[in-house]
């Protein structure tokens, strides 16, 4: 940072993001807002069953309707890459639509003479009715991996629906209504298969398996795990069988020793619900083909990092795709690289010789296919010393993992506990149970929100029981500096235990400073005296909680051009999902060359415009990753401006400084100078590294392609983030809240909420406040109202809309909320910035659980969401929980 002089001119200031006026005037175009000549529409046929095999499909009546253009089945999709070590998928046949009479059988010899993996299998009989399961394929090869059959990866359409609402086929017609009418005329015969909604039922001896391959995910595939009758008898008595068999095991230290040292032990059964992401914009997409390229208007969180995924789903090369996504109506993890279903209009359009195809996804469809946060059923035991120090944690968390893969939120939850409480002895055991429910993926702080809601009320309970202040107990246990954390997998049997097995460490942790700042702002010492006090029918609960999550990655690229017209054009491969990181991090380049923001433009959201390689817009990585990349890019640009100035005006490059789009001798801004426009002209004359003819070899191929498309346009700044980093970057949040619980009705009001973030240097206050509060309120929604519900008998989804699993409204939160940041820079980032999107949510959910416990008693509320009747009934029963976490799943 030798060349820049904090305090910054742009960083840390409020400004208007370059997309805002378009948004507020209705000009901003999201995927569904695009139209094209001749556009036709697809509708999806969704599975009415939670698990079944498609035996036959008769679409003849539908396809005979005038205005109906075609049907898409699973077999129309390219095979996803097989899992490591897995034999290749059988070619052709699986899931193919019934071929017309006389046509060559699906599953004809594979093109290119690839060794047939299923030689001898009755290929011709493999109609959609008799899908060759991967198990069959594996059984026919000698190279089957020892761990079991390979799992079929999820593709956009399927012939073995694994959850109600999974898309089976798509029909294209002149209108949506016509496509929907055509779907009504399709006859499908299903063979019902066993299904699982409640993970515990699947662990019961004789209980159903969510997949034909097994019931639990065990790397690399699946296995069948049933608990003993004795284990299940404990569950039936409402007691978690903490000695039962697990799949995932991680640990550190010696928990037996840790519990021996403890003066207080708290043990808790616990359940959290599954929630849908529900971004307000569904995963709509529109596609057409032109000149051999696919043009796709989609809704995605990331742009640069959606290209490879989408090209793979469609089965084309990356340079055959133009992705346009300038505005995305939220994602929260559900659209990290877009959505697999974007391939549906793309492939349908291909079938129709490139005709534009629109696929609108309704709210109900979005709730089915739009991904979820996995629910937990579990048990935790924590040991504390008298002073509040956590001595040991033992956690057993069963995750409702959906049908396709281990989600792993539960292991993340455990790792975060090891970070947040710096516990020397900890064990995590987990099972990711296959369930026939909408598939999970990362939802804003996957495992992080659950960690706060699970552990933080136990910390508060310990503080109450030990007579320790609730802020003090968190400071006592919390991380600071480059705190070490993380759990380790078990060693192979008989292996010697190495002296220092490597664990992770953070690049910075200022949670204690956040707690101090928050306590002062919240007037903690005074307000905590009110906690638990009753006035009339209302009890006040006052609480504090902390949250943490990853907050940055490294190694991405930046790209910018100073044009001869004097403008600085900053290219960003970042998606515009609403976090403002797209433009907040662009400002770093402007800052480095002291350029007025008004003379800068940001280019984003269209891969034909030359976008550099980016981080994914997930994991709260972007602000950290792209302040680094754009710092490197800004320094590259600065150096080149200085070099050109020295060439033309004499002296050495380091003699030159710059401001207001001019470069001049240091200390002499009024003397001889060159405008950036002139510098750009000279760069074009000089060529080489200056105008993009030569770029660093280390750049990602996407950045190289983008630079090549911009060669000769002006002075190019381009760089990869090669800056060092020692550790993993995490951000932290201290949350404070006050609730008021009506003990007669159970209705509770959140009176006040304060979030204080350790996010390093503040980039954009308006945006940071929005993230701290927005995350906090989403955490509140998890605790208060959101939930997917199923009929356990039929596996049918009952909550399919916003009203059924309602996110918070303006009236469910405090009328006025405050926020702050500790503003201590992260030493591993040249700007000092860290991410905030996810660290904000866990503290928000946790602090409401803690405040409710402060009002109604510890251990009364052991599952979420907390509805008023749960409180009222529990209090009427002397504090006995209304729902047993283990015996009442729904």
């Amino acid at each position: 940072m030798a060349d820049s002089k904090p305090p910054y001119k742009l960083i840390g200031q409020n400004y208007t993001t370059p997309d805002l006026v378009a948004k507020v005037t209705g000009k901003a175009r999201y995927a569904e807002d695009f139209r094209a000549d001749g556009m036709v529409f697809v509708k999806l046929l969704l599975s009415p069953r939670p698990h079944a095999r498609v035996v036959s499909v008769d679409a003849s009546a539908a396809l005979a309707m005038p205005g109906v253009h075609g049907i898409l089945r699973a077999s129309d999709f390219p095979a996803p890459p097989p899992p490591p070590g897995a034999p290749p998928r059988p070619a052709g046949a699986p899931g193919a639509p019934a071929p017309p009479a006389g046509a060559a059988p699906a599953g004809a010899p594979p093109a290119g003479g690839v060794a047939a993996p299923v030689a001898g299998a009755p290929v011709a009989a493999q109609s959609g009715a008799q899908r060759a399961t991967p198990a069959t394929a594996a059984a026919n090869t000698t190279a089957a991996p020892p761990a079991g059959p390979p799992l079929a990866a999820e593709i956009a359409l399927t012939d073995e629906p694994l959850y109600e609402g999974e898309p089976i086929l798509a029909v294209c017609a002149d209108s949506e209504e016509l496509a929907a009418d055509a779907i009504e005329k399709i006859h499908i015969e299903f063979e019902p298969l066993p299904f699982v909604i409640d993970p515990l039922e699947s662990l019961r001896p004789g209980g159903p398996n969510g997949r034909t391959e097994g019931n639990v995910f065990a790397a690399p595939n699946m296995k069948t795990l049933k608990w003993t009758a004795a284990d299940m008898a404990m569950i039936d008595q409402g007691k978690f069988p903490s000695g039962a068999e697990a799949i995932d095991n991680l640990s550190i230290g010696d928990i037996e020793k840790g519990f021996k040292e403890a003066d207080l032990i708290i043990e808790r059964d616990h359940q959290q619900q599954t929630t849908p992401h529900m971004p307000l914009e569904s995963r709509t997409a529109m596609a057409f083909w032109k000149n051999g390229k696919l043009y796709l208007h989609g809704s995605t969180q990331s742009v640069a990092r959606t290209v490879a995924a989408l090209a793979g789903w469609v089965g084309i090369k990356q340079d055959e795709l133009v992705l346009i996504s300038e505005y995305t109506g939220g994602g929260f993890g559900s659209k990290i690289p877009g959505a697999q279903t974007m391939a549906i209009p793309a492939l349908m359009s291909k079938k129709l010789q490139g005709r534009p195809v629109m696929m609108r996804i309704s709210r109900e469809e979005e709730t089915y296919i739009g991904r979820t946060r996995p629910g937990y059923t579990g048990w935790v035991k924590m040991g504390f010393k008298k002073d509040g120090r956590v001595t040991a944690i033992d956690a057993f968390l069963i995750e409702q993992s959906g049908p396709y893969r281990r989600q792993g939120d539960n292991a993340t939850t455990a790792n975060l506990a090891s970070l947040c409480y710096q516990v020397p002895n900890m064990r995590f055991r987990g099972i990711s149970v296959a369930t026939n429910t909408p598939p999970p993926t990362s939802q804003r702080a996957p495992g992080g929100l659950q960690a706060g809601v699970l552990f933080e009320p136990m910390i508060s309970e310990a503080a109450r029981k030990l007579g320790v202040d609730e802020v003090a107990i968190r400071k006592l246990n919390g991380p600071s500096g480059q705190a070490v954390f993380g759990l380790l997998p078990p060693l192979p049997p008989g292996a010697p235990v190495p002296a220092n097995r490597p664990r992770q460490k953070v690049t910075s942790a200022f949670i204690n400073e956040a707690l101090d700042k928050g306590a002062a702002m919240f007037n903690w010492e005074e307000r905590k005296k009110r906690s638990g006090q009753r006035v009339g029918s209302k009890i006040t609960g006052v609480a504090v909680a902390t949250g943490a999550y990853t907050a940055g990655s490294i190694g991405v690229d930046g790209l910018c051009i100073v044009q001869p017209d004097g403008k600085l054009i900053i290219h960003q491969g970042i998606g515009n999902l609403g976090t403002h990181s797209l433009s907040d991090t662009a400002r770093v380049i402007a800052e480095m060359v002291n350029m007025p923001w008004e003379q800068c433009e940001v280019v984003w959201g269209d891969t034909s415009k030359g976008l550099p390689w980016s981080s994914i817009q997930a994991g709260s990585q972007t602000t950290y990753a792209h302040t680094r990349a754009n710092y490197a890019t800004g320094m590259d640009l600065r150096k080149k401006i200085q070099e050109i100035a020295a060439k033309d005006m004499g002296g050495k490059p380091e003699d030159y400084d710059m401001a207001n789009a001019k470069v001049f001798r240091k200390g002499a801004p009024g003397g001889r100078s060159m405008t950036f426009g002139k510098v750009a002209e000279r760069a074009i004359q000089l060529g080489g590294v200056y105008d993009g003819h030569e770029v660093p070899k280390e750049l990602n191929a996407m950045t190289k392609g983008a630079a090549a498309s911009l060669v000769g346009m002006g002075l190019m700044g381009v760089a990869r983030d090669n800056l060092p980093r020692d550790g993993q970057t995490y951000s932290f949040l201290a949350a404070f809240a006050e609730v008021e619980v009506d003990v007669e009705t159970g209705v509770y009001t959140i009176v006040d909420y304060l979030g204080v973030a350790d996010v390093g240097t503040v980039m954009h206050p308006h945006s940071l406040g929005g993230q701290i509060h927005g995350g906090g309120i989403q955490g509140i929604g998890h605790v208060r109202s959101q939930k997917l519900v199923y009929d356990p008998h039929y596996g049918a989804a009952l909550a399919k809309r916003l009203h059924h699993n309602k996110p918070p409204t303006m009236l469910d939160i405090p009328l006025k909320m405050e926020w702050a940041a500790v503003e201590l820079p992260d030493p591993s980032n040249p700007i000092g910035a860290k991410g905030i999107g996810e660290p904000s949510i866990g503290g928000g959910g946790a602090v409401i659980m803690c405040a409710l416990a402060a009002a109604v008693g510890d251990g009364v509320l052991r599952r979420t969401p907390v509805h008023p009747e749960m409180i009222a009934t529990a209090l009427a029963n002397g504090g006995k929980p209304t729902y047993e976490p283990l015996t009442s799943f729904i």
Binding site: V24, S362, L802
Partner: protein, 212 residues
């Protein structure tokens, strides 16, 4: 309390209690099935205007101060007409029906969920969508100005609905308390949950509106 015994939210426009609103929606025949979310392009043989109960299809609508001639099916919602017939895609559809408010437009100055209003019921009424809020010379409406000044909203998919709901609310209560305003626009969901900043912006919008 309003006459029908339901509590008016503080500051709610007189006469539009929730129950009255629901009644009016039902009276307007807006409780259509899921097919309302679908729309039909013009196809030979698909024209149902000869069916019993059909209505005149080519109608004139007063939208954003312009008279627009448009071919409207009898089961077509205002959101569909705006977005898919008139190209006014600033109005967003966030849910299947009347849950999120992203499609809010003004009908004779009153905010309506346009996904739950049949287009045929608004003939002769003045409709304003997000595209019609700024002046023809581009000067932003005070609500829009306040959003820009305060960097309101995140993904902004809900923004057009919120802006229209606020613009409508401020016409009936130009000087609301924060609580009144929150009640007045609480029928709009923001999934990014940027509510605190939205309310900050909208309180500023009320100030700007009064000054304008």
């Amino acid at each position: 309390m309003s006459q029908d015994g339901m509590a008016d939210a503080p500051g709610l426009q007189p006469g539009v209690s929730r129950r009255n609103f629901i009644k009016s929606v039902i009276a307007a025949g807006a409780t259509v099935g899921a097919s309302a979310y679908l729309f039909r392009t013009t196809i030979m043989g698909q024209n149902d205007s000869n069916l019993p109960g059909s209505v005149e299809r080519l109608i004139t609508l007063d939208i954003n101060g312009q008279q627009r001639r448009v071919d409207v099916l009898k089961n077509e919602t205002l959101a569909s007409t705006l977005r898919y017939k008139l190209g006014l895609t600033g109005t967003k559809i966030g849910c299947d029906r009347a849950e999120c408010g992203a499609c809010t437009v003004l009908v004779d100055d009153v905010p309506h969920y346009s996904c739950s209003v049949l287009t045929h019921t608004v003939r002769g009424k003045k409709i304003v969508s997000i595209e019609g809020l700024a002046k023809p010379d581009g000067t932003l409406h005070p609500v829009q100005q306040a959003v820009v000044a305060g960097q309101g909203f995140q993904c902004a998919f809900c923004m057009p609905g919120f802006v229209m709901a606020t613009a409508g609310f401020l016409k009936t209560n130009p000087n609301p308390s924060r609580e009144q305003l929150a009640h007045g626009i609480s029928g709009n969901l923001c999934r990014c949950a940027d509510y605190n900043k939205i309310l900050d912006c909208m309180m500023h919008a009320a100030e700007l509106s009064r000054g304008a």
